[in-house]
């Protein structure tokens, strides 16, 4: 492995994931499709964290699942470590699954209640025939638990004996078992209470430093994403509307939707909170079955122009790895 800094671990090109909508009782036919992800492109570099934010239903989780090939890709390319995996079937994905793992949102649903911690953490090893003899296996599980800040003697307990934060650590240990390159974190801290969130986020950062991990960090909590991400992609209705480094995005958001999202972060000081200008976007996210023509955000945009209603703004490179899809920032 060469150590050229901006090596791309993952390239996603014009990814589309559409779910067919079927109707009819006897003769089933497709009456439309939910365009959950509709033309998403981004790169993830080695050892960086790409934050993926947006409101519920914008397609951020679907993007994560499609990258893992846990969903059928409608069109577009997913290139992982230089290999185009878009058309890989189940058998060809198997060796690749070792190198991309997932951490889940729900610390209760993500661990099999009938398995001991050692079995949960060690299962990926067994699946890929890396378990070795019993002693080596136990040792590996113990070192994984140690890596996520759990005690080795917790290996023989069942998940229900642990708190939410500890369970999430077990989930992280399972994801680390195969020494993956990329970990997709699907809202890994949003089910935890705030004090525990910080600890788990710190664990993620700590592991990244030690193991050189690459993360896609899906979240809707912008404060958490800001803390952990190097770069952030903002999604709206199946598209990325802005992608920028964390500091740039929070310092000077370009897209009106990003502005609105940032304005929605509460400030933990009632005096400031009461006086600061409120930029509120109204309405609901339009249906992903029939996204609006032109810019998808024009129905809710506070700075909508005529052109927005008819012309779909392309993603424009603003230099320095920053890109935005908005007519306000045209050429």
């Amino acid at each position: 492995m060469t150590d050229s800094a901006p090596e791309r671990v993952l390239e996603v090109r014009d990814l589309k994931v559409h779910f067919p909508v079927m109707a009819g009782a006897l003769v089933r036919r497709q009456v439309g499709s939910v365009k959950a992800v509709d033309g998403v492109s981004f790169d993830v570099r080695r050892s960086e964290t790409l934050g993926l934010v947006g409101e519920s239903g914008c397609g951020k989780s679907t993007t994560g699942l499609a990258v893992l090939k846990m969903l059928d890709i409608t069109s577009g390319q997913v290139i992982f470590e230089g290999e185009d995996i878009s058309d890989h079937d189940r058998a060809r994905m198997r060796p690749i699954r070792r190198r991309m793992q997932m951490v889940y949102q729900d610390p209760f649903g993500s661990l099999n209640p009938r398995m001991k911690v050692a079995e949960i953490v060690g299962e990926p090893l067994e699946v890929h025939g890396m378990a070795g003899d019993r002693a080596a296996y136990r040792e590996r599980v113990a070192s994984l638990l140690d890596m996520v800040g759990l005690l080795p003697d917790m290996a023989d307990r069942y998940p229900h004996e642990f708190s939410g934060g500890q369970r999430q650590r077990i989930g992280i240990a399972r994801a680390l078992a195969l020494e993956p390159t990329l970990i997709i974190c699907d809202e890994p801290v949003s089910a935890l209470d705030v004090s525990i969130q910080a600890q788990v986020v710190n664990l993620f950062q700590d592991l990244q430093e030690r193991l050189g991990l690459t993360y896609i960090f899906i979240a809707h909590d912008l404060a958490v994403v800001r803390h952990i991400s190097h770069r952030i992609a903002v999604m709206y209705l199946g598209r990325i509307v802005e992608i920028a480094s964390s500091s740039e995005l929070y310092g000077s958001p370009l897209h009106p939707y990003t502005e609105a999202l940032l304005a929605a972060i509460p400030i933990p000081d009632p005096a400031i909170e009461a006086t600061r200008p409120q930029q509120i976007i109204t309405g609901e996210v339009p249906s992903a079955m029939r996204p609006p023509p032109g810019c998808r955000f024009h129905t809710r945009c506070p700075r909508v122009m005529d052109v927005c209603r008819s012309v779909d703004p392309p993603m424009r490179d603003m230099g320095g790895g920053r890109a935005v899809a908005c007519h306000l920032h045209g050429a």
């Binding site: 994905m93 997932m102 800040g149």
Partner: protein, 298 residues
């Protein structure tokens, strides 16, 4: 090294820490179920040790003691051939245990297999499977039993296989329902995303998490099978005489001499009633105790 972040909370009572604790819970929370459990144990005991417990052979004829009412020599009286009813009921328990347990076991295996595969795979496969199950379930049980037994001929083997398949396919619905909810759990997704094989996911992740309905299905099936076997025997389609099945005893000497010697019908009739009732209340109690949502309720 990361510090141990959150302290371990006191563990709630472990769900599977020994059958003794489970029995203790049964007696504390479900007295009726515990009663059923005790009867079931006695029934099993009688069935297993019928050879030792029975004072006479089940076919031991004593012509001078025909149609004797219950007495200290013949606790449950004798039938028209002078056979001891107590002994016959005990041996009947043995047959019921054998048929009940093996047919219920077969039924459970069939239910689990069909339910898990159909529920987990879903899609077109599930659709086809479930229409087949629909068709199967729309036939009245007794009609299928009578038709098959009259074709294959009576006997213990055919009865077990038929009852096992009959109840197994019907029961697969219950397992499938449980699988449908279990397979949506993130841990199943996690196993899929590591590349775990289908048998591994079914065996390690799905099956252990549907064990509660499986156990309940098995217990209730034991009762249903015993009842169905008695019905078959009553119709003369069960295990052929002189085997002392409870149903056979009811229909044979029981029916013919009901007015002259009511104990001939009462003894096997009560055996069936008590055992099936006991199994059912025990099964209900099991269902409640194994359901985590029912924990702490009575």
């Amino acid at each position: 090294m990361v510090a141990i972040a959150d302290t371990v909370r006191p563990a709630p009572p472990a769900p599977s820490s020994g059958s003794m604790r489970f029995i203790a819970r049964l007696f504390r929370d479900k007295p009726l179920g515990a009663f059923g459990f005790v009867i079931c144990v006695i029934f099993l005991f009688c069935g297993l040790f019928a050879d030792l417990l029975a004072p006479y052979g089940y076919n031991q004829i004593s012509p001078i003691n025909r149609l004797k009412p219950p007495s200290s020599t013949f606790w449950l009286g004798t039938d028209n051939l002078g056979r001891d009813m107590l002994s016959r009921c005990l041996y009947g328990a043995q047959l019921s245990v054998i048929i009940g347990l093996s047919a219920a076991a077969l039924a459970t295996v069939v239910s689990v297999f069909v339910g898990i595969v159909s529920g987990y795979l879903g899609g077109k496969f599930d659709m086809v499977m479930q229409r087949f199950v629909d068709a199967w379930m729309s036939f009245p049980d007794l009609i299928i039993l009578i038709v098959v037994v009259s074709v294959v001929g009576p006997g213990m083997g055919p009865v077990i296989v038929i009852l096992g398949l009959l109840y197994g396919i019907g029961g697969s619905r219950i397992i499938r329902g449980a699988v449908l909810s279990v397979r949506e759990n993130a841990y199943v997704h996690a196993a899929q995303s590591t590349g775990a094989s289908l048998p591994r996911i079914l065996w390690r992740h799905i099956l252990p998490n549907v064990m509660a309905p499986v156990i309940v299905l098995f217990t209730t099936r034991v009762g249903a099978v015993i009842l169905a076997e008695s019905g078959l025997a009553f119709l003369g389609l069960g295990v052929p005489p002189p085997a002392p099945t409870w149903g056979g005893m009811l229909s044979g000497s029981g029916r013919s001499f009901m007015y002259l010697a009511p104990w001939l019908a009462l003894a096997p009739g009560l055996c069936i009633t008590i055992v099936v009732y006991a199994i059912n209340v025990f099964g209900d109690a099991l269902r409640d105790l194994l359901d985590p949502r029912m924990r702490g309720s009575r």
